[in-house]
């Protein structure tokens, strides 16, 4: 904490440090997903290991954001936009940290699978990973630009992630039916796909917090997404 500054200037300085920590966390979370997918694709154990080790750094920054945010609240009693920004950063740091954790989950699977020959070439999973990276990037940009409209748009991108997840699932189920020996690896790949799908959900949370910070209104990301086609799903069962 700076002691020689008081009032608005001191608060601005604190907020900008907090903000930079969130950006750093965002970059590391993106990196974790990116590297984990790469490790999976290339069977690179070292890279997978690097992602697993790197998680401590994410936890450390999240912790530091938490502490600093509470200290700012205690010392400055922020209100209005300042308060909304701090609340959003607190929530967003949790989402980013989880995205990092999901990267670690994928890295662990990458490590296991590195010893085996893959049952299929990985195309859609890296595509999904790339999409997540792009979404995190855009979500942070919308936050930096204080652009709620952009944040809402990103929520709808999550539909593509869900589509890819379903497609991967179907494909892997077919492979499992063809040959029971595929089951173990197919299950692992389904877990990877599911981890990426959940990362997508965390990105929509990031966007919700950005909208709250900018407008003071809580939105649900689901209202900016395609409507669920429940009838089609249930129709299939017959």
């Amino acid at each position: 904490m700076t002691n020689h500054l008081t009032g608005r200037k001191a608060l601005d300085k604190e907020l900008s440090t907090l903000y930079n920590k969130l950006m750093k966390l965002g970059a590391l979370a993106e990196d974790a997903i990116n590297k984990a997918i790469w490790a999976l694709k290339k069977g690179d154990t070292n890279l997978a290991e690097e992602v697993m080790q790197g998680d401590d750094k994410l936890d450390e920054i999240t912790q530091s954001i938490n502490e600093q945010a509470l200290e700012i609240i205690a010392r400055f009693q922020p209100v209005a936009m300042d308060l909304r920004m701090i609340a959003s950063i607190l929530h967003m740091s949790v989402d980013l940290e989880r995205i990092g954790d999901l990267g670690v989950s994928i890295a662990k699977i990458a490590k296991v699978l590195s010893r085996e020959k893959l049952i299929k070439p990985l195309i859609d999973i890296p595509r999904m990973g790339e999409k997540i990276r792009e979404m995190v990037d855009l979500a942070l940009k919308a936050f930096v630009d204080k652009n709620p409209d952009e944040a809402k748009k990103i929520c709808s991108m999550d539909d593509e992630i869900d589509d890819l997840d379903k497609q991967i699932f179907r494909e892997l189920v077919v492979l499992m039916m063809e040959n029971p020996r595929n089951i173990e690896q197919a299950m692992q790949l389904i877990l990877v796909s599911r981890a990426l799908e959940r990362a997508g959900d965390h990105v929509t949370n990031l966007c919700e917090h950005t909208v709250y910070m900018c407008t003071g209104k809580f939105i649900r990301a689901s209202s900016y997404r395609r409507r669920l086609e429940r009838t089609e799903e249930s129709g299939k069962r017959d």
């Binding site: 608005r8 209005a80 308060l83 003071g216």
Partner: protein
């Protein structure tokens, strides 16, 4: 909030000579709630507060247009008796200003002025008022000691007791804690919350956190204009006007 409007202000303008100190103020003050007026020095919030019990009548150059209705009666109409108005609308000032007399006499002063002579009745009013201002337990054994011997915070609560002794309906407070230490401030704030269950309280404060803590409605004034009016929760989390945002986040003022 579904409270009745106790005070309705319509197109209120106030001039000190040629200078316009309040510009077209229009707002409503809900009954039995705390309404806080905030804004930088010289924004007109104290001037506005003083309009509500016609304290500005004492300033010769002061001219007022527009209306202030309390319970639908225009307080500036010729039929309104300002003395009766000030009984109904009590006021507590920045610095505690007890009269140089005993604690008891301070509280009994108003009721005596309004003709209460019966000792038993006066005793009752004094006890009730001191309880109402959360001071009774601290002074019940020294009611006939000089009020000036009390601490600053106690003196301010005594002034609140004196204000409620005449059974007002509205209590105006002009920065009531600016001369008090944090503990005494906390007690007065607690008292303000308590008072709002029986009285309509309008409070001017320089301390934004105080407005956030004690009020139900917050009104932001700037250069004689009312910029924003809204539930306190909304004003302090998502103000609508850029100028309110800048003021409460300390960007000016």
């Amino acid at each position: 909030m579904d409270r009745k409007d106790k005070i309705i202000v319509e197109n209120l303008n106030l001039f000190y000579g040629e200078t316009q100190a309040l510009k077209n103020i229009a707002l409503t003050v809900p009954e039995k709630a705390v309404t806080a007026l905030i804004g930088p020095s010289g924004c007109g919030k104290s001037t506005f507060l003083r309009c509500i019990n016609r304290m500005n009548d004492f300033i010769a150059s002061c001219r007022i247009t527009g209306k202030i209705l309390i319970d639908e009666n225009d307080i500036y109409s010729p039929e309104t008796d300002p003395i009766e108005l000030r009984r109904k609308v009590g006021m507590v000032f920045q610095r505690p200003n007890p009269f140089p007399m005993s604690i008891y006499d301070n509280v009994a002063y108003g009721p005596r002025l309004h003709g209460v002579k019966d000792k038993g009745k006066l005793d009752e009013i004094v006890e009730k008022s001191l309880k109402g201002s959360a001071l009774w337990d601290e002074v019940k054994d020294k009611l006939h000691k000089p009020a000036t011997a009390l601490s600053g915070g106690q003196q301010q609560r005594l002034c609140i007791a004196r204000a409620i002794a005449v059974e007002p309906e509205v209590i105006l407070m002009d920065e009531p804690t600016s001369a008090l230490d944090p503990m005494a401030t906390a007690r007065v704030e607690e008292l303000v919350r308590m008072l709002s269950s029986s009285y309509t309280v309008v409070i001017v404060t320089h301390n934004m956190q105080q407005a956030a803590r004690v009020s139900d409605i917050t009104v932001f004034f700037l250069m004689g204009e009312m910029i924003e009016y809204g539930p306190t929760q909304q004003i302090f989390t998502s103000p609508k006007d850029r100028r309110t945002e800048d003021y409460i986040t300390g960007r000016f003022g």
